[in-house]
Amino acid sequence: MSSPTDTFLQEADDLLAALEEALLELDENPQDAINIANAFRALHTLKGSGNMFGFRALGDFIHHFEDCFEKVRNGSAFVTPDLVAVALASRDHIAALLDLGPDTALTPELAETDRNLLAKLGEITGSDTLSAADRPSEDTASSNQPNAPVIERRWHIRFRPEPGSLGMGVRPDLLLAELSGLGRTMVTPQLDAVPGLDSYDPAECYIAWIIELVGPVDRAAIEDVFLFQMDAELTIEETQLEAQDMPEPAENDAALPDRGAEKTSTPAKGQASGGDSVRVQASRLDDLMNQLGELVIAQARLKAISSEIDDPRLSGTAEEIEALVTGLRDTTLSIRMLPVSMVFGKFRRLVRDLSSDLGKAVALTTEGGETEVDKNIIDALTDPLVHMVRNSIDHGVESADIRAAQGKPETATICLRAEQAGGEVLITVSDDGGGLDTEAIRARAIERKLISSDQSLSAAELHQLIFEPGFSTAETISNVSGRGVGMDAVRGVIDALRGTIDVRSRPGEGTEVTLRLPLTLAIIDGLMVRVDDDHFVIPLAAVEECVDLPDRNMVHDNGRRMLQIRESWVPYIDLDQLFGFGQSGAKGRRVVVVTADGRRIGFAVDDVVGQLQTVIKPLSRFHRSVEGLAGATILGDGSVALILDANAIVRRADAVRQIAA
């Protein structure tokens, strides 16, 4: 269980995100009461919890921030673009105060920001605000310590709970017990108001008590006992202490309506609730995943040993473990899946800030935010997407007058879209800007010596050049687009995730960049095949079917071999030739039909060995750039099989054929 402070920090992140979301909504719909309430609630909760966990400066700041929003909520101030801007800056300030940590004094810079923001907030909403930095720091957290009484005093107390108090759960017995904890008491119940049974309501309290209390007690301590009894009849009088009249502790239970006993005898039911969720540190998920990966490898080893030994008891157990590991894997993977909207959500602020910085009107739309992707991919995606969106706004979207001249709507649209396709997730950033300028790209690529001046490249090849290291440099990038990182950084991340980037662009109409990413990074179901003496794994998500490769029944078509499967002709690739292993002489070869790049295509192999779970291990830097490989996996006997990337193999085969043609 993480500590409450950790919980608070996690929660504070969520609340800041909720606040930002609400503010951005308000920017678009300034009178949206729901979002005013949402912003207010986020602030209120942050303040309450912040004070609880020692974030005093934060609590103080939000207190005033909240006052300003209270004005908005009750209609005496209005949401304006200025207010949203200051509120967003205040949100950032709160984040900085959180970073500062609990029980920490403000730095001079933060104090300055604190003052400025509150002054602005006050100005806009017409509130009086005073920053924490200006106020003498008073210790509001200190509780009022009652003065320690030392002398014995005698009190005469009369207490009659308000009639309906039993229905609110007031327990006079506990109050009396608390009083008797303060000193010696004598309790006398007054039963004169108890009605007859016909008109008796068990939720009503008809009894009053007179308590004689002797002890080292002051009035405040007694009032504390009756703290919540504001509507009860209560008199507390000090009387003369008489030595001969020391009250003995009273047996007072009999006089009390006994509710407690029956209540606590009810067995507590389990707190089963299907919608419960638990927060887990990401590193623990990673640990779980790593250990699961090792378990899968160990299980593969067990399976190999079991098939060697061939004892039905062992093989039965091995199969059982395999099934359990599969279930455990699926559950673990599903825990790691998060909706893409977690990334998309961050972009509203970015787009808003960029569009105002650059003076371009840009609207953001998102689609498919519910698509789920492995957490590590989500984490890695943020930076590349930020860069792509920046690039779109900075370079893609034209200035307002150009847009007007071309009859485009004044406000440009950037769309973030996610969808799942087979074992991949496609994430697209599209804009309706000017499109990539292929001539400018060409000129720059020549200038950067990425291509020679006589090289002829297709538009698609030119588009890919923007991802080359050294293509974009500081001199062309405005302060918006980059701090020394170009689109090559985007490609680096996507490569590391074993993904690919497609670019489609039409001059004057816009650009669409699509990232194709695997759904998960760690463990996949695979189909093991043999090519020559080597084993390879094809991700099962890509596999459609396996068929025998007949000796006849094939045609050559433009350098590609075709195989008839039922009614259709399917092109296939000889993996042994593509891998440079030489022509296979094997008999009874098979074809694994996969879907790659949206097409059905066959991979001819020497044998299909079977299905297995594979833990994807990354390839070293020496092999990462080898096209067609998605990683490697360790087999039950400790040897390594390469995992094939069906899409990349098809692309490679296309490239090989083009060169051969």
């Binding site: 090792e294 593509l578 390839l619 070293s620 020496f622 750039s625 080898v626 360790i634 040897s639 090989v656």
Partner: protein, 176 residues
């Protein structure tokens, strides 16, 4: 067989031949091994482990620098064809052959590589000051791969360039 070589050079890594350009009196602990009859050495600290040759998996279209890979305790490690890189003939696997698993930093990322030695010989201490330029051999071998040579008990030992920066990770594409 599996011998762990524990680094004794933590305080004096092999790269510390000079401080601010001034040579210092330092000794280095080196592991010597044999390839194609020649004696080579690298810093003991760089060697993660020495293991018996084991089954490797060839990587199609990966070029000649790192044509295959293997599993070293759950990590996929490329087997670097150092002979090829140094311009030597490819060799047979001998009874005495061992895999040296070496940890190197490439662009700040720690990466394990394996190289096949005909035999692992010795751990020696050598004075940094005694490292000399390679005599004459420069003509035959790519000099960027070497840091220099030392004389040890009458034998010439060639020191590999310690960062292995002569390994180009991008790999060539021999099949195309």
């Amino acid at each position: 067989m599996q011998q762990e070589i524990h680094s004794q050079t933590d305080t004096a890594p092999i790269g510390l031949a000079t401080v601010d350009g001034v040579p210092v009196d330092a000794t280095e602990t080196l592991l010597t091994f044999r390839m194609d009859g020649e004696r080579f050495a690298i810093a003991v600290g760089a060697v993660a482990e020495i293991i018996d040759p084991q089954r490797t998996t060839r990587v199609p279209n990966s070029g000649s620098l790192a044509p295959s890979l293997l599993n070293v305790r759950g990590t996929i490690v490329p087997l670097i064809d150092l002979r090829h890189r140094l311009g030597m003939e490819s060799g047979e696997r001998l009874h005495s052959s061992r895999l040296l698993v070496i940890e190197i930093a490439i662009d700040g990322e720690l990466t394990k590589i394996a190289i096949m030695a005909d035999a692992v010989e010795d751990v020696i201490d050598a004075a940094t000051a005694e490292v000399e330029p390679i005599p004459d051999l420069g003509v035959r071998w790519p000099t960027e791969c070497f840091r220099g040579a030392i004389k040890h008990k009458g034998d010439l030992i060639i020191l590999l360039e310690e960062t292995f920066s002569f390994l180009d990770t991008r790999g060539s594409d021999a099949a195309l």
